[in-house]
Symmetry: C2
C-alpha cells in the first residue's frame, strides 16, 4: 500500500465534511429544497470575494469563467490588454483571440510580476483599451500579480475594466473586490475552495455589467445576464450542479469558521515555510519576485530533470505535485499549499523533496529542510 | 419526517455505489491515476452510444454539449433545420441563432412527433441545409422522435449532418449511433446515467469531424478538436471533473451488468405501466403519439392546475416530479421513470397521483391505477 498525498495546485484535497455532504442523495434544482442551498452559496461567495456584487456560479471549470468574461463584456474588435507572464496569461490571449478581440500583450518573463506602471503607460497611450486581463496567482510560475495596484490604475479609466483570473488565488490571497475596485473576479472550485472540479465563480461589478449591455460576442452557455436573473431567484440558467453547490456550502462554512484573514495568513505562513525550507536545501526559487501563497515553483537542481523529481515524488512516495508547464517543463517542479492544507502537508512536501533528491544523487542532508519548516510552523 | 422521492426527469437519483465512489478523496487529472479512469469511461460511453466514434466528455450541463455541437460543426450563415416540438427544440433554435446560423424550423404541435417525410422534403427543397437538429426524447412533451428514420434520410445528404440531443433519452431508448448513422449524439450525466449534473457527452461521427474542419464559429471552452486530441491520451482539454467521471464508471458498470437491451426494456416497461395506470384513472396523456420511455406527460384534469398537482405531490407526499414548461405550464405534470428507476418508483408515482387528485376533490378510486401498474409489472 502506497498512501497518497495530493499536493498539486488543483485539484486539491476535499475535506471529509464536503465529501460526505456530496454523497447525500440528489435534490432537484428547481424545487424549493434547492433555494436555501443556493442562497447560502451565493451569500458565502460574496463574503469570500469581499463584495456586494453578484457572484455567478457556473457549471464549468475555471476556464469557462474566463471564456464567459471575454464573451459577456466584450465585442469582436474590442481592444484587450493581456498581462502575459505564464501559461494562464497565455490563455487570456488565446481566449481573446478566439472571440476576435484585438490583443495587446504586456509580456513578462516567467517568474516575474507585472510592473503596474507598465499597465498605466499602456492605458495612457491607448485609452481605447476596454479590458485589462490578468492572473492574481499565475499558477505556472508561482507569481502573484499586484491586483490592488492594477485596480487602482484601471478604475481611473471609465472605458476600461479589470478582469482578474483569481482561480488559484481565492482563499489564499486577500482580494478586496469592492474596496480595490476589481471589475470581474473569477474563481474555480478545485483550488482554495477545496472542492472537486466543476464550478466556476464570477464576481461582476456594476461597471462591468454596463459593459455587458453593449457586448455583442456570441454566447449561449455562458450568458451572464441570464445567470444574474436566475441568481436573483436562487437558481442557475441551466441545470444546477447541485452536489457541488452543496459541497461548496460545506467548504464555505469551513473558511467562515476560520475567518478570511486567518485563511490568508495560514496560506502565507505555509508558503513562506515551504520557500524557506527549500532554500535551506540549496534549491533556487523559480519565482523571482512576488511569490504566490498558493503554489511554490522551484528550479530543478542543475543536471536533474524537474519532471523526474515530480515523477519520483509520485511513484516512490505517493505525493502528487506538479511539474513545469510550457517552455519550463523539465526545468521546474511545483508544490501547492492551497485549500485544505496545513503544517504537515508542508512537512510532507519538504521531506519528500529531500528524499527524492537524495535518491537522485543530489547532496542533501535529510531533515535539514524539514527542520527549517518546523521552526517556522511551530505553534 | 417526510421521506423524499425524486421522480423528476433530471436530475435523477444516484445509486449508492456512485455516491460512495464520488465521496472518495480526489485524484489528480494529469496523474497516471486518472488515465485508467478516463479510459474506462471513454470505452463505456462508446458501448453505451453503440459507436466506434469518439465520445467526448465535457465539464458542463447537457446544454454545453448542445452549444458545442453548434459552434464546432457550423459557421455563421450556415443553414440549420430545427425540429421544434417543445422547450428543448426551441433551445436548438436559440443556440443556432446565438451563433448566427440561419434557422429554418419544422414546428410541431407540442405532444406530437416529427413526420420524417417533412424533413426529407425540407432537405430536397433546400440541400444547402447543413445540419438537422432534433431531440430524441423531448422532455417537455414526453415525445420520442424517430431518430432511426431521420438518420436514414440525413445520411443520403453528404452536406448535412444529424445532431441529436439525446440528453434525456440515453439509456432509456435504443440509439444505434453507428448502425443508424447519427452524426452527433449528445448526452448528459443527470438523466439515464444516474449521476449528478455536471457532465455532457458528445459522440461525433467521421462525417461530423469533417464539418469541424471547416467550422469558423468562435469557440474556446467547447473545442471539440482539442477534446478529441486529449481524449486520445485519456485526458480532457481543461481540468477533468474527476469525481463525476469516477461516478460515471460506477454507473456504467451498473448499466453494463444489466445489459443495454435490458435497460431499454426496463425503461419501456416502466413507461408503459405508468401510462396505462394513469389512463386507468381517467387521465389523458399530454403526449399524443410516440411516447418517450423517459418521462410521461399527463394533462391535469379539467378544472385542476397542473402546478398544484406537482406542488401537492412534493409538499404533502415528498415526491418531486415536474410541472409543465412554456405555454403548457399549469396544464400538465410530468413523471419520470428514468435511470435508477424500478417497479416501485412507478407504484409510488401512481399512488401519489391518486392521493393528490383525490385530495384535490377529483373523483378517484384509490388503488385502481396502482392495480393496473402492478398487473403490468408482475415479475
Amino acid at each position: 500500500m502506497l498512501k497518497r498525498y495530493l499536493l498539486a495546485p488543483g485539484p486539491t484535497p476535499v475535506p471529509p465534511e464536503a465529501l460526505l455532504a456530496m454523497a447525500m442523495p440528489i435534490i432537484h434544482h428547481r424545487s424549493p429544497d434547492f433555494l436555501p442551498v443556493m442562497d447560502s452559496a451565493k451569500k458565502g461567495l460574496q463574503w469570500l470575494c469581499q463584495t456586494k456584487n453578484d457572484v455567478l456560479i457556473l457549471c464549468s471549470t475555471g476556464t469557462g469563467g474566463m471564456v464567459g468574461a471575454v464573451n459577456n463584456f466584450f465585442s469582436p474588435g474590442d481592444k484587450a490588454l493581456v498581462i502575459n507572464g505564464g501559461n494562464f496569461g497565455e490563455r487570456w490571449t488565446k481566449i481573446c483571440k478566439a472571440y476576435n478581440l484585438g490583443v495587446e500583450e504586456i509580456k513578462i518573463d516567467w517568474g516575474y510580476a507585472v510592473k503596474p506602471e507598465d499597465v498605466e503607460n499602456a492605458l495612457k497611450k491607448d485609452p481605447s483599451i476596454k479590458g485589462v486581463f490578468v492572473q492574481a496567482s499565475e499558477t505556472s510560475t508561482g507569481v502573484y500579480h499586484d491586483i490592488q495596484a492594477l485596480a487602482s490604475i484601471v478604475k481611473k479609466y471609465d472605458g476600461t475594466i479589470l478582469v482578474v483570473d483569481a482561480i488559484s488565488a481565492l482563499v489564499a490571497h486577500d482580494l478586496k473586490m469592492d474596496a480595490w475596485g476589481i471589475d470581474v473576479l473569477i474563481g474555480g472550485s478545485q483550488k482554495g475552495l477545496m472542492l472537486p472540479p466543476g464550478l466556476a465563480f464570477v464576481g461582476v461589478s456594476e461597471k462591468a455589467w454596463a459593459f455587458a449591455e453593449k457586448a455583442t460576442s456570441p454566447k449561449f452557455y455562458f450568458n451572464f445576464k441570464k445567470e444574474r436573473e436566475n441568481l436573483a431567484k436562487n437558481q442557475t440558467n441551466f441545470t444546477s450542479p447541485v452536489t457541488l453547490i452543496i459541497g461548496l456550502n460545506e467548504c464555505l462554512k469551513i473558511v467562515q469558521a476560520e475567518g478570511l484573514e486567518n485563511a490568508f495568513a495560514r496560506h502565507a505562513r505555509l508558503a513562506h515555510a515551504t520557500r524557506e525550507a527549500v532554500k535551506a536545501l540549496g534549491l533556487e526559487m523559480f519565482t523571482k519576485e512576488s511569490p504566490s501563497n498558493s503554489v511554490t515553483a522551484i528550479n530543478a537542481p542543475a543536471g536533474l530533470d524537474g519532471q523526474e523529481i515530480y515523477k519520483n515524488l509520485r511513484v516512490k512516495y505517493g505525493i502528487t505535485t506538479a511539474g513545469g508547464q510550457g517552455h519550463v517543463k523539465g526545468k521546474i517542479f511545483r508544490i501547492a499549499h492551497l485549500g485544505y492544507a496545513g503544517t504537515f502537508d508542508v512537512i510532507t512536501a519538504v521531506a519528500g523533496i529531500e528524499m527524492v533528491l537524495k535518491g537522485m544523487g543530489h547532496p542533501i542532508k535529510l531533515g535539514s529542510g524539514v527542520a527549517v519548516a518546523q521552526e517556522l510552523l511551530m505553534a
